[in-house]
Amino acid sequence: MFWDTVGYIFIVVGVVFDLLGCVGLVRLPDVYNRLQAATKCVTLGTAFLLFGVFFIYGFSALGIKALLCALFVLISSPTGAHALARGSHKGGVKLWEGSVIDLYAEDSENK
């Protein structure tokens, strides 16, 4: 009963973070900033959802799978964001005009 409650709290927190990540995706100005929202809020939100499932089902087939999925999401999501950011930059997507610095572009031009 106690662990069920903990699990539900985790799921609610996860959904809230997922929602905030989606709001960020809509509100932030360019690809890179949107990736920030997508990698942080959505990764943690999804991980929290899966942790919640683990707390409810405990050490059973379902609980362990949820735990491993959380681990995979935590590893693959930043890697995917990294690939997207690098690809966008190489593909010529400009930073938002309010950006203060872009050393990556400067260094690429000098070489």
Binding site: L20, Y32, S60, A61, H82, H89, V100
Partner: protein
Amino acid sequence: MKAIGEFIILFALWLLLTWSLAPAQVIAGAIVSALTVGLVGDIFLFKVGRAFNPVRIFWMLVYIPYLIWYIVLANLDVAYRVIHPDLPIRPGIVKIKTSLTTDMAKTFLANSITLTPGTLTVDIKGDELYVHWIYVRGKDVKEWTEHIAGRFEPILRRIFE
């Protein structure tokens, strides 16, 4: 030796995923793990012997809650920026220098940076990481490195180097 270590890790993962000791599952897992090691075992970067070193495992166990704590802080920070009416961001791509040398340590550093406050790794060239930062603070490479990587490097060095 390397192949055996990889096989044990993959097989343990399989057992956890299926969560069953039925003979059919175990045999299928053994075959799949052996095939995977045979086909793509070469691209595994980590020296497998290190995965079973208790000191490194201890630091890994310290690192995980430490990282989760910073991930939660990161989320509150980004969430605050997202719901604030004025959208207080000051983004830019900065460069940091890492003192870590192995590929595995750099990979973990890059992923940790991506998961924590407002920072997203864009590219790695040698020992330099290009990081997109949602709110740039500081002026030169040294300050940026201290801000972004300073909190992870000491522990990562103990785990992977």
